[in-house]
Symmetry: C2
Subunit: 332 residues, 2 copies
DNA sequence: CTGAAAGCGCTAACAC
DNA sequence: GTGTTAGCGCTTTCAG
């Protein structure tokens, strides 16, 4: 079934069928109805591949991401998929989790498929050279969270510093002074920003930094959170509150508490980060939301505007974090 | 940059470039190297859209799914994406969560994009008429979990009955007799199979069914689990164990327990389902794993074999469930 | 308002 | 071994 078949069956030309299918251009009512009738009867579906070749517009957005252990990946994907669908685009998600698929090949496939735009979320393996290839092809590009400063490329950054700061401030306002920090080793800026937010909040409150209260782990993960908790809970003078840079840590921390029959927030106060799992835990934990609901829309809007004008200078959008209070911090 | 440009630059014909790009057919070493050189220099990337049009093979798999509240959706997507990538395919995921996007339109887009195969996972809005369209186009189709018996279409079913049966049997073997059930109203067969598994296990152990111990909820969800727990925990003669058909219910149940300072498994024993969140809870909960790791491979293998021979009769593969014991059932 | 014609970039016979 | 040629199914000027 092709447009030509439809044209023949309806007794019109190929062009007319095209106009009806795309609802564009003038077609007399009779002819239109004739064509529509045939289309309905035959169950004809336009070939988007051919359309894409001819119009060099595929309606596809490439999303390059990395499968991280926390649930962030799914949230981000969901948000982008949804926003894209609402705007008539479909997302092709490439997860660079395997060693055998290197980022360069992935990008080549994206380019080969002639996607109309590319979103890269927190991929650590990026460098200017790789991105250059995309830019040369003039494909709109937006980078999320882990961003490089590249010409004519938009960035969406998460205000991690503020997020951490606000969380710790919240704890301090509840009267806590011995506040522990569980985070990940700073491979990337993200982790540093969170740690800095924590330190700044302490400083602002005139609380001296206590190195024994800072627990840095190799990875995000439940086990890691549990292990960190084991150490912190053994401390001669135990912290009264803990700020963790991932809800996964909070999961693990709570498991350790459960084993020791330590109650939250009665015996210790906790604040998580990501707002992914915190609402599901026992008890639900106050957590920093990264405001990812709008992320997809932001991504798509940046991409779409750049499709219209590829020459605009690189813009930067900050996704603002907010604290979701679930009462897991006790008033001292 | 097209193949013709490369051909000119390398002083060979279009065909020769094609042979080099596709690594197929005879090309003398000199010419090949010349072509490869030019490709490298220019950063040429073959146009997969044109390839797709010409070869009517897009390397795309369409995945039609529905965004459910439990984490199953992500697990399934991940599994399929990964299996597809390993076989050189890319997945286009369509989530029919919005009312405005009806399944028929989604299917049309999949057909329009000329995907090489379609996987439909637990979509409740399916009917023969819709599927007919896919079959007419001769696109390999595999349905997961919620399946219809359609000619020349493969099915992957989850052995929910066995899963539930095994879970309840596990509880019974630990000496429990008052075992509650939290499930979802039976919109679909899935829910019934789980309830039936529960009932059958009780029957096999000679335990009379107690209607007050069966709690059916409108939806899967944390809140729902919590509400169910509130009722069950108020019962004059409280159950000693609870089997729930979703880890989300278990989350909610644990929150209710936490509020009442009821400990698991000391005061009550719990078993979840899905094995999605159970490992993250406090305490970790014994749960039924749906064995989704292999799901993607199964899907792809069924699809690939049908691409080779579209006439094979519909096959059925059963994904076997297994109980992951985390000690949340106490020995009475 | 409608149609004829020229490709989009690539593949696959088929000839040389 | 290598090149010529004819499309895949559609969009888009440009005439009528």
């Amino acid at each position: 079934m092709t447009m030509i078949d439809i044209a023949k069956a309806a007794g019109v030309s190929l062009t007319t069928v095209g106009r009806v299918v795309r609802k564009k251009g003038y077609v007399s009512r009779e002819k239109r109805e004739a064509v529509e009738e045939v289309i309905r009867k035959t169950g004809y579906v336009p070939n988007l591949v051919a359309q894409g070749l001819k119009s060099s517009r595929t309606g596809l957005i490439g999303h390059l991401t990395v499968l991280n252990p926390n649930m962030l990946y799914e949230q981000i994907s969901k948000s982008i998929n949804r926003a894209a669908a609402q705007r008539g685009y479909q997302v092709l998600t490439y997860a660079a989790d395997l060693e055998d698929q290197n980022t360069a090949d992935l990008l080549d496939e994206l380019i080969g498929r002639r996607v109309d735009g590319i979103a890269i979320t927190s991929n650590p393996q990026l460098d200017q050279t790789l991105l250059q290839k995309i830019l040369v092809q003039n494909i709109p590009l937006v980078m999320v969270e882990r961003t490089l400063n590249v010409k004519r490329t938009d960035r969406i950054v998460v205000s991690d510093y503020r997020g951490a700061y606000t969380a710790v401030q919240h704890i301090i306002r509840h009267g806590h002074r011995k506040i522990a920090f569980i985070g990940k080793f700073a491979d990337q800026d993200v982790e540093n920003r969170r740690l800095n937010g924590y330190k700044a909040a302490l400083r602002a409150a005139g609380i001296a930094e206590d190195k024994t209260l800072i627990e840095l782990r190799r990875n995000y993960g439940v086990e890691e959170g549990s292990a960190a908790a084991e150490r912190l809970l053994e401390l001669p003078s135990r912290p009264t509150a803990v700020f963790m840079t991932s809800d996964l840590f909070a999961c693990g921390f709570l498991q350790a508490c459960y084993r020791r029959k330590i109650r939250v927030p009665d015996d210790i106060s906790l604040v998580g980060y990501d707002n992914t799992l915190s609402m599901m835990l026992s008890p639900p934990i106050t957590s920093v939301s990264l405001g990812l609901d709008d992320l997809g829309s932001d991504v798509m809007e940046l991409l779409l505007s750049r499709m219209n004008d590829g020459l605009i200078e690189g813009r930067q959008v900050a996704n603002s974090t907010s604290l979701i209070d679930r009462g897991s911090v006790r008033l001292l």
